[in-house]
């Protein structure tokens, strides 16, 4: 009968749970089958054990990447197509020049943080950054940033929910796969069986990228509230509540749809309470600052703006809102980003991340300023802050061993709609940062902007029938598969073998997809560039 197998599986869970209770933080005894295979097949498993870590930021709602990494030299990037949201050219700048990225720091300490109102020349001869992304410039110029345009997948879905799922399960057009790409990375590493904390997200719910059936990844929405009460609420009473709660968790029950999930997540709760209790997530503990005076100002800024007083030069300049580095609605995101950073830095977790919401700009998107600009400021400052946090406060990982990526489900229409907004489209852009990135200026790298130049292996085509309108008259056509970006990072940064990668990203097992080498995709005949030398 069907339930027999399930009972057997429950048996394993119950066992490991009891072991977990007893052993508190680590050293679980039982190893799920998936992991056993991974360990057996890879006696010298390097994945997740080479000191490298990954931090992800999911830009939910679909970032209008044409206004992030702007194809400013494309003749069709013009006022006719984007009348109210266009990022203008600086009349005094030659965008065809090759070299470093312009870095418009505030010249005088009191100048507005975002006083520069034009596209920032990236130096690849074609593309520019949204001026609100100005804090990416120092990262780029020190070789710590790659920017990749025209990223998508075959038969692009324009549904937020499906497309987010495909990005997170690394299985385009597969709604059946309910396990995530980072989950599989961690399973292949074998670490989920020895460490209570492996993959962590700080957001309202555990994202699909970290979900899977055989091990629990950890999600906290508010780390400052991660502890339990008891009745009575005394130390003794708390102990009594905990003892019996844990005892109840190890009770066997017949299998039902969600009992494994509940079992694993309760177990994770039980195992991680003590770990998080040792970390300081409080506002008072948010004392992290830049190592040098920031942005031409006289003093270093706070890295994680979680209050007005910690937001750029606001407090130092008599509460001047022009000196903010991010909008005041960004504090929740920076609290989460701070927590994710602390977790990566202070625990054995190898992957952590959060999400940044609000990118579904169907109306009143804004151009140089406005909604979309505010979101760009968050992205730019987040990357800048992470570099400084992991360089100055590094503990279990430093900036040179970290890669930070942004993901977003698709790009938006190249033509603006009647509401000064943009609708769902195809390819978008990814930002990849970290000391481990092989960016501009490192080892002969002349540009680390990819996918946004007529000189690309799959060239950007200029004009009204070009790349911006390459699909269905207003959708940016893909030149890079997001799986090639993730695959490159998971293998060459986190240490997966080629064999492991075929299980982490199934497309790597399909020769015709050409994810590694590039070529014509067997799925839809589109030319893609394959892996890029980003790490």
């Amino acid at each position: 009968m069907k339930h027999i197998n399930l009972i057997t599986r429950r048996g394993f869970l119950d066992y490991s749970m009891r072991a977990g209770m007893a052993a508190a933080l680590s050293s679980l005894v039982d190893i799920p089958l998936v992991a056993r295979r991974a360990l057996a097949a890879n006696a010298t498993n390097n994945l997740g054990r080479n000191g490298k870590k990954l931090l992800f930021i999911f830009l939910r709602g679909a970032n209008d990447s044409l206004n992030s990494l702007v194809p400013i030299q494309d003749s069709a990037y013009n006022l006719a197509n984007r009348p109210q949201i266009l990022i203008p050219k600086d009349p005094s700048t030659d965008y065809s020049a090759i070299g470093a990225c312009d870095n418009p720091i505030s010249a005088a300490a009191a100048d507005p943080t975002f006083g520069y109102g034009y596209g920032i020349r990236t130096g690849n001869g074609f593309a520019a950054l949204h001026p609100s992304l100005k804090f990416l410039a120092p990262l780029y110029n020190s070789g710590d940033l790659a920017m990749i345009h025209r990223v998508a997948y075959p038969r692009q879905s324009r549904s937020h929910f499906d497309s987010q799922n495909y990005w997170e399960n690394a299985n385009p057009n597969n709604n059946v796969a309910k396990d995530g790409v980072f989950y599989r990375t961690i399973i292949e590493s074998g670490l989920a069986q020895t460490n209570a904390l492996t993959g962590v997200s700080i957001q309202s719910s555990l994202p699909l990228s970290l979900r899977g059936p055989n091990a629990a990844m950890t999600n906290l929405s508010d780390p400052t509230r991660y502890n339990l009460f008891g009745i009575p609420n005394t130390t003794a009473g708390n102990n009594k509540a905990d003892i019996f709660l844990r005892e109840g968790l190890s009770t066997p029950f017949p299998d039902k749809h969600n009992r494994e999930l509940l079992g694993l997540q309760y177990q994770n709760l039980s195992q991680t309470l003590n770990i998080f209790a040792q970390l300081d997530f409080s506002e008072a503990g948010n004392t992290y600052t830049d190592s040098t005076p920031t942005d031409g100002d006289t003093a270093p800024y706070y890295l994680f703006p979680t209050t007005n007083a910690k937001n750029g030069g606001y407090a130092a300049h008599a509460n001047n809102p022009n000196k903010y580095v991010v909008d005041t609605a960004a504090y929740g995101f920076f609290n989460s980003l701070k927590s994710a950073s602390i977790v990566l830095n202070k625990t054995d977790a190898i992957i952590a991340g959060t999400s940044l919401d609000g990118f579904d700009t169907h109306s009143r998107q804004g151009g140089v300023t406005g909604n979309h600009a505010n979101l760009q400021r968050r992205i730019g400052w987040a990357m800048y802050a992470l570099r400084n946090y992991f360089s100055k406060y590094n503990d279990k990982v430093d900036w040179n061993n970290l890669v930070v990526i942004t993901m977003s489900e698709f790009g938006r229409t190249s033509k603006e709609n009647s509401d000064a907004g943009t609708d769902h489209a195809e390819a978008g852009a990814m930002f990849v940062a970290g000391g481990a990135v092989k960016g501009y200026g490192k080892a002969g790298v002349t540009t680390s902007v990819y996918g946004a130049s007529p000189k690309d292996k799959v060239p950007w085509l200029d004009g009204q029938t070009g790349s911006m309108f390459g699909a269905s008259k207003s959708y940016l056509k893909r030149a890079v598969d997001y799986r090639s970006v993730l695959g490159k990072i998971i293998r060459d940064h986190l240490g997966a073998s080629d064999d492991q990668l075929t299980r982490i990203i199934p497309g790597y097992a399909v020769t015709g997809e050409n994810l590694k080498t590039g070529g014509t995709s067997s799925k839809d005949g589109v030319s893609i560039m394959g892996e890029l030398p980003i790490v």
Partner: protein, 810 residues
């Protein structure tokens, strides 16, 4: 004791059982037998719904099996001392029958969980009777205190009890307006007007002076009034020119002899003024110790002066209290399926109004109207999906939410695609289920012109009516903020794309749908129309989408995910002879939709689901995880027995719950940013962080009022589990840990089966017999029922059970 030797003649055991009659479940798994230290043990099978195990044995297989008379079962293990002789064992699992579990199933699907009273009632009348009752909510009589509204005119008596956190007493209005107040009293304890009145000049018989009341500048028009009087010679006529909140914007005094931490009761008479909107009074002792707001949440909602947390609290309170439970479950389902977002409406109104309170009130009112329309529609026996889809499309909240409000398709304008996409993907057909991008682009033009504006109240439901010209202040200012009227659906013909439109060109229903659907053309041709006649475009589309087979499939899938389990998807091959049971149920639902006229009657579809074996069996029971809303409401309901006088053993402070729901995974009711609505699937809600919040919630709710941590989820969430036990158990049983444990375990997990709950019940017994340190033995029987230690012991046990994984399920 026997020797340690293992007699080998015991080493054979078998469990072979044929299902002979209902109630017996066959299990062909081998049963583990072990013998250690003179004790033989049988490992018993773990099967859903096992109510009882029966152990049978026979000395030899040519003799009949007879029930074992010795030995004992603990959890999933039977043990006995080793006796002489050979033996064979057989185990029977006696399961709950579908009729046994149906009450538990229906109370967790058609309702927000069982209450002690309802579980008894439904077990008595049967699950099917409950289904029939709930399918016809118009036949269920209901008058809830939370629905009481106050009309302008006439004195109303108000009381409120709470704990003082300071001695300051404030009186103010939350906006512009006037009211009368008289005989304001504050006494110690929880009984109004019993004991010494502590308020100075609360009868308002002498003029206000700083010796008693301090009056802020926004209230200086207030004065004693001798015409509208409750008692004595005068009342206080409060006239407010702006919203109050603190000592700088209220009439206040520091009340002598109020002690922080003690309970006090406030009472007063209140006469609503004549201005519109109705002025909203607050009388408040301390920061939040006692807050009295004489206009009920429902009154504020009806009069458009409510804020979103008023709507949330009222909606949550209905889920806890209403007898029309299925109506509430479905209202929330529709609210979530046709999702709209209050902050998007507020951002929209920010364009027209400077006052944040007004934008909050207006955006809340749109949500409330929508919410009430779901209820009203579902009260109609013939309610169809088409009715519901139309309500959603015409709702100003939706028009704003998915950006049709400013969309233009005239001239060279590119129409906003947002609503066109989501109406197909999320509200009708399901993602990529029978449409493509070209259909979305074409469809987006059909909606152009669907907008909102301020219309005269009499024109609220006439989208062709002109904008109101009824000015609030006489001036040349005709902006929206200076118009009397109602924000309503308004068709702006100038924005409309007047071309002809062909949606789903040449498309036919795929073969997988089978008869009668397969092969049907579902092309929709909308002719070129004049700008004004173009309003019809949208209605043509709605009528067409409402009964497409794709829509039928997707909506039935969503209903089954809500009411059965999560494992339903679109895309079934309905012609497949091996179609899964889930697929078969969807097909049955679609036929209930298609074959009854008018098509798409919700009650027909629901009836098909409730009649299905998937719904009624163990495959439905406890197969889902509660959403945060379901979990919080079910917690209050599980302990809620209503007394004759209307009080109960479990009272939710619904105003505190929105914060709790946000902590449990961002479930901000009426404010979902993403148009897919909150998920029904467990992985979206269950993580270590959200489980910690769930455990903290039940612990906080179960705490007595004076315990540290109680405030975390709201001081006024009051449950009284000892009161419940006193009502439900004979007095003599209250000191029996076993009796108490069995009652609680059966109440909280009604479909699990007693045998499967044996370990839980034993755990509760040990909890009840253990001191607060969790280690020292201190039997319940030695406590006094009326004592605090007994109360704490019971509260602790209840909190422990409600924080277990099994109570996360439904």
């Amino acid at each position: 004791m026997s020797s340690n030797l293992i007699p080998k003649f015991f080493a054979v055991a078998a469990a072979i059982l044929a299902a002979q009659c209902s109630g017996l479940q066959a299990d062909d798994s081998a049963i583990g037998l072990s013998i250690t230290n003179g004790v033989k043990k049988l490992q018993l099978p773990i099967v859903p719904g096992t109510d009882k195990f029966r152990i049978l044995s026979t000395p030899s297989l040519d003799q009949a099996f007879t029930p074992e008379t010795s030995g004992a079962i603990q959890g999933f293990e039977w043990s006995d001392l080793v006796q002489s002789g050979t033996g064979f064992y057989r185990v029977e699992t006696i399961s709950l029958t579908p009729a046994d579990i149906l009450p538990g199933v229906v109370l967790n699907r058609l309702a927000y969980g069982q209450t002690p009273d309802e579980l008894e009632r439904v077990r008595s009348i049967g699950g099917d009777a409950f289904i029939q009752e709930q399918l016809a909510p118009e036949g269920i009589e209901e008058s809830l205190a939370i629905d009481k509204t106050i009309q302008p005119g006439g004195w109303q008596y108000i009381t409120a009890t709470g704990i003082a956190t300071s001695a300051d007493l404030y009186v103010y209005l939350t906006g512009v307006g006037d009211i009368f107040i008289d005989d304001l009293k504050l006494v110690e304890g929880s009984v109004a007007e019993q004991g010494t009145n502590l308020v100075k000049n609360g009868d308002f018989e002498t003029a206000l002076s700083t010796a008693n009341w301090t009056v802020s500048t926004n209230l200086t028009d207030s004065a004693l009034d001798g015409a509208t009087v409750k008692s004595g010679a005068s009342s206080l006529h409060i006239v407010s020119t702006s919203a109050g909140s603190s000592k700088t914007s209220s009439i206040w005094q520091t009340v002598p002899r109020v002690v922080v931490g003690k309970a006090y009761t406030l009472s007063y008479w209140f006469f609503p003024g004549a201005t519109k909107p109705l002025a909203d009074l607050r009388v408040r002792l301390s920061g939040g110790g006692i807050v009295s707001s004489p206009l009920s949440g429902r009154t504020r909602l009806e009069y458009g002066v409510a804020l979103i947390n008023d709507l949330r609290a009222w909606h949550i309170q209905r889920a806890v209290q209403s007898k029309r439970q299925l109506l509430e479950v479905l209202t929330q389902f529709l609210e979530n399926h046709f999702v709209t977002q209050v902050t998007k409406s507020r951002d929209f109104f920010d364009r027209f109004y400077d006052d944040g309170t007004i934008t909050d009130q207006l955006s809340t009112l749109l949500e409330f109207k929508e919410n009430q329309k779901w209820r009203a529609s579902l009260m109609n026996p013939a309610c169809t999906f088409s009715n519901l889809l139309t309500i959603s499309a015409e709702s100003p909240a939706m028009i704003i939410y998915l950006d049709t409000v400013d969309s233009k398709g005239n001239a060279k304008n590119i129409a906003n695609e947002n609503y066109a996409r989501e109406v197909l993907e999320l509200f009708t057909m399901g993602v990529d289920n029978g449409y493509d991008q070209a259909d979305i682009t074409t469809l987006s033009r059909a909606w152009t012109g669907w907008s909102v504006d301020v219309l005269d109240a009499t024109n609220e439901f006439n989208p062709l009516a002109p904008r109101s010209t009824n000015l609030i202040t006489v001036s040349t200012n005709t902006s929206s903020s200076n118009l009397f009227g109602v924000w309503s659906f308004k068709y702006k013909s100038a924005n409309h794309n007047t071309n002809s439109k062909t949606i789903f060109p040449s498309k036919t229903v795929p073969a997988r749908f089978g008869a009668p659907y397969a092969g049907r053309s579902y092309e929709l041709v909308i002719p070129a129309r004049t700008p004004v006649a173009g309003l019809q475009d949208g209605y043509d589309v709605l009528a067409h989408l409402a009964n497409l087979p794709f829509t039928q499939e997707f909506i039935c899938v969503k209903l089954c995910r809500l009411l059965v389990h999560e494992g339903f998807e679109t895309g079934y091959d309905f012609t497949d002879p091996n179609l899964s049971e889930e697929g078969q149920l969807i097909r049955t639902c679609m036929h209930a939709w298609e074959d009854n006229l008018p098509k798409g009657q919700m009650r027909k579809v629901l009836g098909a689901i409730f009649a299905s074996d998937l719904f009624r069996s163990q495959r439905g029971a406890a197969q889902k995880v509660k959403t945060p809303l379901e979990y919080t409401v079910a917690t209050f309901r599980a302990l809620r027995s209503v007394n004759q006088d209307g009080t109960s053993t479990s009272e939710a402070d619904a105003s505190s719950i929105p914060t709790v729901l946000n902590r449990m995974g961002g479930m901000r009711l009426f404010d979902r940013a993403e148009p897919d609505g909150f998920t029904e699937a467990a992985p979206g809600w269950i993580s270590a962080g959200t489980l910690a919040e769930r455990v903290r919630f039940v612990q906080g709710v179960c705490m007595p009022t004076n315990m540290t941590g109680k405030a975390d989820v709201g001081l006024n969430n009051l449950v009284n589990p000892v009161g419940l036990l006193k009502k439900k158990l004979p007095a003599a049983d209250l000191l029996s840990a076993e009796k108490v444990a069995n009652y609680l375990v059966d109440l909280f997990y009604p479909t699990e089966g007693r045998a499967n709950l044996d370990i839980y019940a034993r755990m509760v017994v040990r909890f009840l017999n253990t001191d607060d340190d969790g280690v020292t033995s201190k039997p319940l029987a030695n406590l006094t029922v009326a004592s605090s230690p007994y109360d704490i012991r019971i509260r602790g046990a209840v909190a422990m059970l409600l924080s277990q994984p099994r109570f996360q399920e439904q």
